[in-house]
Symmetry: C3
Subunit: 377 residues, 3 copies
C-alpha cells in the first residue's frame, strides 16, 4: 500500500481529477482586493467584480509574465503592475498603453467560479463541463439547523495522505490523545462500505465508553456514553466525519452530532489547501461553544499536520524500491479510497468529457442511522 | 518575444559576451582588504596591491579549492588561509610552506582590471584582447560639469530582463507612479533607432505636461513642462537614460538634464550587479540635492527590483512550451536590443578574437538634441 | 589530487565502508528518550531498553513511513505516534491496534550497537559480521591514567576532507594561528609511513622552538621546548593526533602528552559527525584544565569547520573538469590515506563478508617514541 503511495507521488501520472469543483476559498476571503493562491499546481488570482461576481484567472500577464497579483483593480478591469495592460473579468485585454489596437493573443486564462455554501468553488477542467449542479452538497455550513466552526490549514502533504488519515480514524488514539482520541477508537474496527461507486464509508460504534476530553466538555457530562463515528469520502476532495455521542441512558435521537467537513484542494502534488467546517446540531446559540470548537479542531488538525508533513518528507526522500509494504485492517477504507480515486482519474484520462456527479454524503436529520446501528450495552 | 526570453534563459547557449569590459566594482570599494564577488558566473576576488594597482583573481586556491577570500594580504602576496600558499598579483604561487620548490601548476587565474571613471572594469574574455580603450565612455560620473549620485542594486534577475525594462520606459507610469512616472510616459510611443549596429535608442518627447513628483521637486516648479527621455543601450551592459525637463516658457538649453548610467554586470544567468549613477548638470554644489537624488533613485530601482525578480521567478517556473507570446509596440526597442546582443554573442562564438568597440552614448553638452526634438506646445 | 576528491564525491561509488564500527553517539547521550540521528545516510533512532541495553533502529514505521522518532517508549516497546503500532527492541512489531494478528512484514530494521569507551558504536554493514572485538581501541577516553575533554562538531563536509585536514597538520600554522599553530609546524615536513596496510602515520618533530599559545598555557612555561606531533589514521573513521611537548632542558619522559581522538562518522556524503576527545596524561585532577582544554579544542575545530565547509561548497559547485590539481609534499599522508581507504572499500565491494580488523593506534606509556625520535638541539 505504502509503496503505491510513493510510486504515484513520484510518477508522471496525474494524482487528481480536473473535471471537478474544488474549494478555492471561503467566500468571505474574496472581495475587491486580489487574492493570489496556487490551486492544482497553477497560480491563480481571485477577486470580485464591482457587482460582486467572483473571478478566477491565471496570475500572469501574457505580455511579460509578471504576476497580475502585483497589479490593481480599476473599476471593471485588472491592470498589470508592470506596463499597465488592462484585462476584463473574462481575461480579455481591453487596453494597452501607447497603442490603439490590442493584440488578439493578449488574453489571460479564466476559470469558472461559483459562490455556494459560503465557499468559492473553482472548476479547472474542461470549462464547458462546469455545471454548478455538480458542486458537492455540503449545505450544513449554511443551514439554520446547524452552526459551523470553520478554519483553514495549509498542509505540506499530498492530499491523498490526508485522505488516508481521515479514513482511518484509529490514529485519533495516538495523534489526538489529548483532545478527541481514546483507545476505543483504535480497538474497535470500522465497517467499510463503498456506496454507488462514489462514496467510501468507514463506520464505527463505540458503546458504553468513557468520553474523550473534547466530548466530555461539549456535553458537560462525565458519565459513560455511546459514540458513533462515520468517515465519509467522495473523491476527489470532499470528506465528512460525522461524530455522534449521547449518554448511555438516553437515546441516539438526543445525540450531540457534529458533521465535520474537510474540503481538500491540492495546491501542488505535495501540498494541500485544507478548508474545514465543524458543523453541530446542538447549542446553536452558544457562541462561546462555536469558538471553543474552532480552537479545539484547529489544535487537532495542527497535530495531524505534524505527522502528515513528516510522512510526506519520508516518502519524498525514500527510494520507492526500498519502501516497506504493510497493510493493516485499518487500511481497508484508505485502500478502497485510493482505488476509487484512481478509477475516476483513469476515466477522465480516457475521456476528457467525463464527469463524476456527486451524491449525498448523508441524510438529515442525522439521528436515524445512529439509532439503527447503536445498541447500548 | 517572451518565449524567446525563456528559451534563452534555460538553454545552454551563452547569454552574455565575454570579450567586453564589465564593471566589477566602484573603484572606492576595492582596497587593501579582499572583496569577493561573483561575476559572469565565476567567483572572483578584488583587491589592490600595496602600490594601489587593482587585482582580480579567481577566488580559489589551486591546492585544495578553498576560497582565497578567507586568506589574507601579506605585503606583495595573498596567502591562502588553509595551508599558507602564497600568490603574487599575477596569480603565480611564490611560496609553499614546507618545501623549496613551488609546483609549476600552482597558479591562480587572474583577470585584467582597470580603474576608470571611478569604476573598476574587468575583462573576463580572452586576455590578449583586453584593450583599455574598449572601455565604454561613461565620463559623466567623473566630470566637473556633472555631479553623480551613485548606488548599487543586486537584482535576482537575468540582466536582459533589466535591459528590457530600461528600454521600455512606459513601465514608469505603473511601477513608478509615486516617483518619476506619469501616464504621459506610457501614452507617448517612443521613437526607436539602431545606431551603427552598436546602440539602441528609444526616444520620447512629452510636451506641455504636468511634472511628475520627482521633477517637480528638483526644479522647485509646479507649472507645465516639456520633457524628453532617451533610453540608450550599448551591449552587453551599458545603459544610459537621459531625461531633460524645462518649463514650457523657457528653452531646452536651460533644461535640467540627468544622464543616468545603468551599468549591468551579470552575476549568474539569473542575477545581476546593477551599478548606477544619476549624473546631473544642475545645482552642482547642492549636496542635499545629491543625497535626495540618490535616495529617490534607489527607491525607484527598489520598485523595479520587485517586478523584475517576480518576472524572473515566473520565467523559471514556467514550462517554455506554455509561455504566452504577446509583443506590443512598446517592445520595439527591447526586441531590437535582444537581436543586437544575440548577434554580438554569435559573432564572438564564431570568432573568439572578435570585439565590439564601443561608440559614444551621447554628445556634450546635452541641450542640442533636445532643442531639435522638442517643440513646445 | 583535488580532482580525485571531487570525482569521488560526485560519483556513484561508495565513499565509505559499511563493515565497520562507527561512533553513533557518546554513551551518555542515549537513554530512555528517543535520539534521532542520520548515520551513513540512513535515519536512525537510538535509545536504551528499560535494562539499559542500547538499541538502534531505522527511524521509520513500516506501515505509513512516519518517523518513529515522533513516537514514544512504552516499557519494553516503542509505539508509533501515528497509528500506535508497537515494536520490540529487535524491531519486531508486537501489537497492531484493532487487530489480533500482526502482519509478518511489520518489522523495523535494527542495527548492532555496543557501549564501549563511553561511546555507543554502531555496525551498519552485514549484521553477522558485527563482532565487538573489531571496535577500534580508543581506551584513553576511559582510562584512569588519562583525563578526557570531549566534544562534538557537526561538519557540513565529506568526512574525507576532515581526514585530509587531520593528516596534514601544516594547516595549523594558518588556520589555528591564535591557538595551537606556529610556523614551525608548516616548515618542518612530516615523515609519512603506512603501518601494516592499516594505519597512516605522519610524524613531525619540532626541536628547540617557542611554544604556541596553547602549550605555553598548559605547561605554564614560556621557554623553548621540544615538540612532537603524530597524526595517525585508521580507516574508515578513527584518527588520533598525539602531541607531546617538554622544556628543552628536561626529557621526553616528562612530556605533556595529549592524545586527541577524532572519531568521524559520515552523516551523508557531504556531512560528518565529528566526535572528539582530547585525552591528557598530566594534571589529571585539574578540572579547570579539563574545561580549558575543552573550550580551546572546540574553538580550534570551529576554525577548521569554517575552512572545511567552504572547501566542500567549492568542490560541489565546481565542474570536476575544471578542477586544478596541485599536489604538495604536505599531501603525502592524505594521498596515502585516500588510497588505503579506497582499497578497503574495493575489498568490501568485491567481498561483502570481508572486514578490516583494527590494530593499535599507539603504545602506552607514550613517552618512548618521543624519546627515540626527538634529539634536542
Amino acid at each position: 500500500m505504502s509503496s503505491k503511495i510513493s510510486e504515484e507521488t513520484t510518477s508522471e501520472r496525474p494524482i487528481w481529477m480536473r473535471n471537478a469543483w474544488y474549494v478555492a476559498a471561503f467566500a468571505s476571503e474574496v472581495g475587491r482586493s486580489i487574492l493570489p493562491r496556487k490551486l492544482l499546481g497553477e497560480s491563480i488570482i481571485l477577486y470580485r467584480s464591482e457587482a460582486g461576481t467572483p473571478v478566477a484567472m491565471q496570475d500572469r500577464c501574457p505580455h511579460r509574465l509578471v504576476p497580475l497579483s502585483i497589479g490593481s483593480l480599476r473599476g471593471p478591469v485588472i491592470r498589470c503592475g508592470y506596463h499597465g495592460l488592462e484585462f476584463d473579468t473574462n481575461g480579455k485585454c481591453v487596453a494597452v498603453p501607447g497603442q490603439e489596437v490590442v493584440p488578439p493573443g493578449a488574453r489571460v486564462r479564466t476559470f469558472p467560479v461559483v459562490d455556494k455554501y459560503k465557499l468559492l468553488w473553482i472548476w479547472m477542467g474542461a470549462s464547458e463541463l462546469a455545471d454548478p449542479s455538480l458542486i458537492p452538497d455540503v449545505h450544513w455550513i449554511d443551514d439554520p439547523a446547524w452552526v459551523p466552526s470553520t478554519g483553514y490549514h495549509r498542509m505540506e502533504a499530498d492530499f491523498r495522505l490526508i485522505t488516508d488519515n481521515l479514513l482511518d480514524l484509529s490514529h485519533e488514539a495516538y495523534v489526538h490523545q489529548r483532545t478527541i482520541g481514546n483507545d476505543a477508537v483504535a480497538d474497535e474496527p470500522a465497517r467499510v462500505a463503498v456506496e454507488q461507486e462514489r462514496l467510501i464509508h468507514a463506520d464505527r460504534d463505540m458503546l458504553n465508553i468513557l468520553p474523550p476530553p473534547f466530548f466530555e466538555r461539549i456535553m458537560d457530562y462525565k458519565g459513560r456514553i455511546n459514540r458513533w463515528q462515520s468517515a465519509i469520502y467522495m473523491p476527489p476532495g470532499t470528506h465528512m466525519t460525522e461524530a455522534g455521542v449521547y449518554p448511555v441512558e438516553t437515546s441516539s435521537s438526543k445525540a450531540f452530532v457534529g458533521r465535520v467537513l474537510h474540503l481538500l484542494t491540492p495546491e501542488t502534488p505535495t501540498s494541500t489547501h485544507y478548508f474545514w467546517a465543524m458543523n453541530r446540531n446542538y447549542r446553536l446559540e452558544d457562541e462561546q461553544m462555536t469558538e471553543f470548537i474552532r480552537t479545539a479542531v484547529a489544535h487537532t488538525f495542527d497535530e495531524d499536520k505534524v505527522v502528515l508533513e513528516l510522512q510526506m518528507q519520508a516518502i519524498l526522500k525514500e527510494q520507492p524500491a526500498h519502501l516497506p509494504s504493510v497493510a493493516l485492517r485499518a487500511d481497508a477504507a484508505p485502500i478502497r479510497a485510493r482505488r476509487l480515486l484512481a478509477r475516476l482519474i483513469d476515466a477522465e484520462l480516457q475521456n476528457g468529457a467525463v464527469v463524476a456527479p456527486p451524491i449525498a454524503l448523508a441524510n438529515d436529520p442525522p439521528g436515524n442511522r445512529a439509532a439503527t446501528n447503536a445498541v447500548p450495552a
